[in-house]
């Protein structure tokens, strides 16, 4: 393939050449970064919670009125839920994964330390919590019914026993022998780790301590409660439909918030990652439209060049060039322009990512995304130029003899 004549010809179309190259460069820069954002969001959305998420219904409940204690109401409610047909297990809590609201605190290994603790989310629950969540206990034991105490607003969270996640245990005790050790959530008041679960995530989706969770054997005496319900397989829909009436049947003095009152866990998950899914969709659409516009631009400008050079093509054909030579001429020409474009584009993409690192919460662009982008745009250029190039190759040698 002769590159030199192509370059010589391009020198006569500087403006068009530069415009196509520039467009390819900008498209590459934006598409690389946009696809990388899509990748980040998809990765976030597909994180697991450590729960067995199927067949779970979550209820948010607010008691109306100010009784002396909410505990009797809570106990009656949870009994009513557990005896519903189709329900396998249930418990009452303050928070659960993907709830996007809850408590966290810093835990220490030493009784008096106040600095450099390990952050942990706090989930309250009874001996039914582990089974309802469907988490795997990998060491130690579950709570017993006698260990469950009420937790009042003026108390501070320091129960004698706690169950923690492996990630949290490993961070506090890197040696891996956390079971039976004391942890201090409150200065000077030890809590013994009686069980370790494999994985359970915090309620928030943005926390940097996503796997650090402590389950405390508490019933929180408060008007605001969450019931987490595990249903028998296939019974989720009927429990989801009937649970409000069951609870209203127990006591009407309650409110389920309109949007987040009663949800299956699929709904909880989809609500939690709404924004991320929206962003990923938007970025994908932008990429697709951008690539389409760039392709259309290449088709438009190449067609113009072909039209402009019909006579020259005719001369070349008359002098013995084959169709394939003409075709490959235009394909090569486009490849050279696109190559220049992607070289500039890679620099732009990395620069753009560098700037976004400082402005937004983002990771460094991975090289594989740049590579995919480069291949994609070179391929796009070749595909876009193919039709005009084919038309050029069909120019009859007779054209050489005609004057326009």
């Amino acid at each position: 393939m002769q590159i030199k004549p192509i370059l010589a010809a391009l020198r006569r179309h500087k403006a068009g050449t530069i415009l196509i190259a520039l467009q390819i460069a900008l498209t590459l820069a934006i598409v690389c970064n946009a696809l990388f954002i899509v990748h980040e969001r998809v990765e976030r959305v597909s994180r697991t919670t450590g729960m067995n998420e199927s067949n779970v219904v979550a209820v948010q409940n607010l008691y109306v009125g100010s009784p002396a204690s909410y505990l009797p109401l809570m106990k009656t409610d949870i009994q009513a839920i557990r005896s519903m047909p189709g329900v396998e297990d249930a418990y009452v809590t303050n928070a659960f994964p993907l709830r996007r609201g809850g408590w966290s605190t810093t835990a220490q290994k030493d009784p008096d330390a106040t600095k450099d603790g390990v952050q942990s989310a706090l989930y309250f629950g009874d001996e039914h919590a582990l089974a309802t969540l469907g988490v795997k206990l990998i060491a130690g034991r579950n709570f017993t019914a006698s260990e469950i105490t009420s937790f009042e607003r003026d108390q501070r969270p320091a129960p004698p026993q706690v169950i923690v996640t492996k990630a949290f245990a490993d961070k506090l005790f890197p040696g891996g022998n956390a079971l039976g050790k004391a942890v201090y959530y409150i200065k000077g008041r030890p809590s013994t780790i009686i069980g370790i679960v494999e994985k359970l995530t915090v309620p928030w989706i943005d926390a940097d301590f996503i796997d650090n969770v402590t389950i405390m054997p508490f019933l929180f005496n408060s008007s605001y409660q969450h019931f987490l319900v595990r249903t028998k397989p296939g019974q989720q829909d009927s429990v989801y439909r009937n649970i409000a009436n069951t609870l209203y049947g127990v006591n009407r003095m309650r409110v389920f918030p309109e949007k987040s009152g009663i949800r299956t866990f699929e709904m909880v998950r989809s609500n939690a990652y709404e924004a991320d899914r929206g962003m990923a969709t938007l970025m994908s659409i932008v990429c697709a439209v951008l690539l389409a516009i760039t392709a259309a631009g290449i088709v438009g400008l190449s067609s113009f060049w072909v039209g402009q050079r019909r006579k020259q093509i005719g001369v070349r054909r008359a002098l013995g060039a084959r169709k394939i030579d003409i075709l490959s001429y235009f394909m090569t020409e486009n490849f050279l322009i696109a190559l220049a474009g992607v070289v500039v584009g890679v620099v732009l993409a990395l620069g753009m990512n560098q700037w976004m690192l400082t402005q937004f919460e983002m990771q460094r662009l991975s090289v594989s995304y740049v590579f995919v982008g480069v291949v994609m745009l070179l391929g796009l250029g070749q595909a876009a130029v193919f039709a005009p190039a084919l038309r050029a190759s069909r120019v009859s040698p007779v054209e050489a003899t005609r004057s326009v």
């Binding site: 607010l62 501070r156 009407r252 409110v255 962003m279 516009i293 760039t294 438009g300």
Partner: protein, 433 residues
């Protein structure tokens, strides 16, 4: 002459329909995407109190204990009950209001309706005039009601529609959490965007539907929520919140001129020093008095995703414009022969240039129109999204005008290089062939 150019342009645009359509679509998509994201950003970063946000200030103190003291750390954005009450009763500002968020379970007189929760605000009487809250019926409660902890309430437009079918409900009774309150005022639809006076309940949380005097809410034990930050002994039970070492109330003041801002700052500084001397404040006296927009800037309320989308849309627009420049170049150069003839017949370079730019501007107008449709469709899509901010995305007249101006100017700029190159073609060369 302009009419003639327009006619020429139309004829030329019609000759290569695919190319024309492609240019218009590219401009429209670029403009549409930019305007959609820009509108969302414009709404979310807007001024919640147009015309008076520069006069409303948030006094900030540091009542925390010594532990973990860091002089560079931000001051709390809330106050304790004691400080809030002291500053409120000092009456040093033109207006002042102390407030906290609540959740009000509302029961209808109609027993067929299940109780439902609406967001509430427990505050003091100046809240309404200070934030310019519009009333439909009645008015806010009086200072005496605040002091007497009267069982009164102001309700929002939505709640009035829901409970009283939009009628004047002043004087009627509202049942909140087992407590009966006499309605003294009904608001017109009102919502501060961003929800500046209490970001703890969400930067863009929807407007409250029930407003109750702060003292009344405390006596009646109405449910409180929102952010709370404690230190030392921390929070006692709900009944002990008044003495707890926690910040959980928002305090705002209105100061109408620079002199009152200065004197309030001095007063606040004096108050903080006095509390340090009394031993209530353990840290060195530090105060701050940002106004609404300064506070919102500091808190960076506009979501990162929205800013990212604006940048992305502009990048997209630039690519669309580069694309249009390329296509226009192709289109204009193809007419080299025609331009050569016009030049040979005596048309000046300038008039050829003007003619070509007219053509570019027409693409801009068409692109702007189509872009407007894209933006309207985009905003409709945004509104379909769930979430508190989605409902706010509407195109206002300023944005509408901007869409057009940007579209026409951008295509004119895009047409400059192609038009300039085309009008410099030597007529002789074109006529020869």
């Amino acid at each position: 002459m302009f009419g003639y150019y327009v006619e020429l342009a139309l004829r030329s645009l019609r000759r290569s329909r695919a190319l024309t359509a492609l240019m218009i679509v590219a401009v429209a998509l670029g403009i549409g995407a930019s305007m959609t994201t820009l509108t969302v950003w414009h709404v979310l970063s807007g001024d919640p109190l147009p015309g008076r946000s520069g006069k409303v200030f948030m006094p900030r103190l540091d009542p925390r204990d010594k532990e973990g003291y860091d002089p560079t750390e931000e001051l709390p954005t809330q106050v304790t009950w004691i400080d809030g009450m002291n500053l409120l009763h000092a009456h040093r500002a033109h207006r002042q209001a102390l407030m906290v968020a609540g959740a009000a379970p509302v029961q209808s007189d109609d027993l067929g309706v299940d109780p439902f929760i609406v967001p509430a605000r427990y505050t003091t009487t100046d809240f309404f005039p200070m934030f310019d809250v519009p009333f439909r019926y009645g008015q806010g409660w009086s200072v005496a009601d605040d002091e007497a902890r009267a069982r009164v309430a102001v309700i929002g437009a939505d709640l009035n529609d829901r409970l009283f079918y939009g009628e004047n409900s002043v004087g009627r009774t509202l049942h909140v959490d087992g407590v009966d309150l006499r309605i003294v005022g009904v608001l017109r639809p009102w919502r501060a965007v961003p929800h500046f006076y209490d970001l703890n309940t969400g930067n863009y949380s929807v407007g409250e539907e029930v407003f109750v005097p702060l003292g009344t809410a405390r006596t009646a034990k109405l449910k409180r929520n929102g952010g709370i930050e404690c230190w030392g002994p921390g929070s006692a039970d709900e009944d002990g919140m008044e003495t707890a070492t926690c910040v959980w109330l928002q305090f705002w003041v209105q100061l109408d001129d620079a002199a009152s801002v200065a004197s309030y700052r001095a007063f606040l500084d004096g108050y903080a020093r006095e509390q340090v001397t009394l031993g209530r404040f353990e840290r060195p006296a530090r105060i701050d008095l940002p106004n609404v927009m300064q506070y919102l800037d500091e808190q960076r309320v506009v979501p990162g995703d929205v800013r990212l989308q604006v940048w992305l849309a502009f990048g997209f627009f630039v690519v669309c414009l580069v694309n249009t420049v390329g296509l226009m170049l192709a289109k204009f150069m193809r007419r080299a022969g025609e331009v050569g003839v016009r030049r040979a017949l005596g048309a000046s370079r300038r008039s050829v240039f003007a003619q070509l730019l007219t053509e570019a501007a027409m693409i801009g107008v068409a692109g702007g129109l189509a872009g407007l449709c894209v933006a309207l469709a985009g905003l409709a899509l945004v509104r379909l999204q769930p979430g508190a901010t989605a409902q706010l995305a509407h195109l206002d007249f300023a944005m509408l005008g901007t869409t057009f101006v940007v579209s026409v100017v951008a295509t004119l700029v895009a047409g400059l290089i192609p038009a300039w190159r085309t009008c410099r073609i030597a007529p002789a060369l074109q006529l020869k062939s």
